[in-house]
Symmetry: C2
Subunit: 339 residues, 2 copies
Amino acid sequence: MSSKKPTIKDVARLAGVSFKTVSRVVNNEAWVSDDIKTRVQAVIAQLNYQPNRTARLMRTAPFSLAFVYDNPNSHYVIEMQNGILSQCRQKGFELVIHPTDSHSGQVLHELTTIIGSNQVGGVILTPPLSENRELVQQLLAQQAKVVRIVSGSAPPDDLCPTIYVDDEQAGFSITRHLLKLGHRRIAFLGYHKDHQSSLGRYRGYCAALHEAGLTVSEQLVIAGDFTFDSGVAMTEQLLQQADKPTALFGCNDEIAAGALFTARMHQLAVPQDLSIVGFENSPFSRQTWPRLTTVHQPNAEIAAKAAALLISLMLENETQTEHCGFELQLVLRDSVSTL
Amino acid sequence: MSSKKPTIKDVARLAGVSFKTVSRVVNNEAWVSDDIKTRVQAVIAQLNYQPNRTARLMRTAPFSLAFVYDNPNSHYVIEMQNGILSQCRQKGFELVIHPTDSHSGQVLHELTTIIGSNQVGGVILTPPLSENRELVQQLLAQQAKVVRIVSGSAPPDDLCPTIYVDDEQAGFSITRHLLKLGHRRIAFLGYHKDHQSSLGRYRGYCAALHEAGLTVSEQLVIAGDFTFDSGVAMTEQLLQQADKPTALFGCNDEIAAGALFTARMHQLAVPQDLSIVGFENSPFSRQTWPRLTTVHQPNAEIAAKAAALLISLMLENETQTEHCGFELQLVLRDSVSTL
DNA sequence: GAAAAACGTGACAACGTTGACATAAATTTT
DNA sequence: AAAATTTATGTCAACGTTGTCACGTTTTTC
């Protein structure tokens, strides 16, 4: 049975009204008499009628947004995705996942396709794509709504609503925390010149050292990316040096986990012989031994806020660009000791 | 400029042909002369025309599939998602993410909505939803294509194409591995009566013990779920007992990580004082100290296969149900020693 | 108590595509 | 060289909605 999905016209026929009236009932429009309304609703329930989203979309703006990200394996992505999804569910929006390679040069083309084909009406951009001013402008030029998540203590411009996360301030706090405990030789792991979060955290690190009257030692700033393996490699490099640090600031928890691992390999006790801090408060930062002191980054909240802004932008079609900043809090755990 | 997105008719006008001809060019249909083809293509490029996916969808079956899962925070989800996404990209399909709570009783209703509204044409089901025979049948009754991923050494039935993963066999191998190294008191952490993967691994565990002439001790089989915290709690419980085990079989890596953590709390050296194995080979299983011996579960591959089956089902509209089984391999690392 | 406003309903044209069919031109077959 | 076939293009009706407008029927207003 049920060879075909019922349409609005099937409902109309059975309810003995015009299909436009059914449309009114479905969309909760005014000026439908109560008895017809209930009659139509009964038929809808009886047939288990679902409005065809595709057909509806032909007449309305898209109810979908895209989440665009670059590093598909980070835990950060799934947290963000969950945050976005929670908002989408609430507002009846659909989420299109769009992992991409920001180095491929294909991003603009890919996004143009999904926007141009009317598949999505808006886009949430994460770093490093969100830092690409030109990309944002080109998406905007295609009538797409854009919300971006960036690192910074203020929105870089008013191009579009922006969620900014104050990495510098957090980098400052956590470095100062180490300084307060007496550490003087603090290494910075995961410096990356193209990565705004890394740079922000680095600036905070420098600022805290300066405040304490210390200078930044080039030897202690190690470049690398935000992975466990890179953390291992950077720590190895560091431990080969003559002037060993007493504390390590990993630019994210994965780097810190790599450092932890490497310390164990070198029979260094953490935190007694070496203090290590991470950044992000990812789930596994409290599952390592010792549990990592880190900075809490509320990814789900951040992304949910981005989604909420984007959705209201798509619904209300406002031009006013609202921004939102997030401050990050220290999470003190067991991977740090006084010197 | 560019106030409106160009349509097929805009292209047609500019190219001086009928819009149907443009449609032919876009869809690569036969019987279009080469010069018109190139002329149209030039205009398409010039206007940066993208066929409107929504309009197209009104005439064709949906090019979207849903990924339905229950446990949004597991790493397993993102790996699967990536696998599915890779297939979708290749075939031009769209992915709709659908996390849900299998206990809410809302699942059928939720899926009915996205299927009924023509949003998706097919669904990939993961445990425990995939084990619900009735759910599968009801989705099938709505003309949806379904592919499910289940635990087992064979597909449970021919309702739909099925990816089955042999947990029992893997549970057997890893338990036998411990037995070979001389372990006799091996605990099983994460028994869960409603969880087929857990039960499969448990059956393998029992089979291996029997093969070695041992009986399963109730004391050593601890019920719990697949989380770090549960792993901690179960290990605590175990370590309070008189007859302590020499090895722990964690039903997944998170449980094993919890066990590792708890062992450390109790000053037990792993693997010298206690051997621990996990299951899944999630990224962090090689980032713990010591690195976990575990079973490799190729989630991305499994999910990619599921997506491939689903997509071919949606495209070719075949009725024949093709299945696919995965065997799991041991990954030997450092968390196990001979007794 | 007539005019105006508020309600309630329906007809019909979009929206941008694809599919069925028609038709004209070019080519092959008889 | 007429008939049949192939090739190349166009016309028009769907698809299932929502928006615009029109048209009755009530209720309110002066």
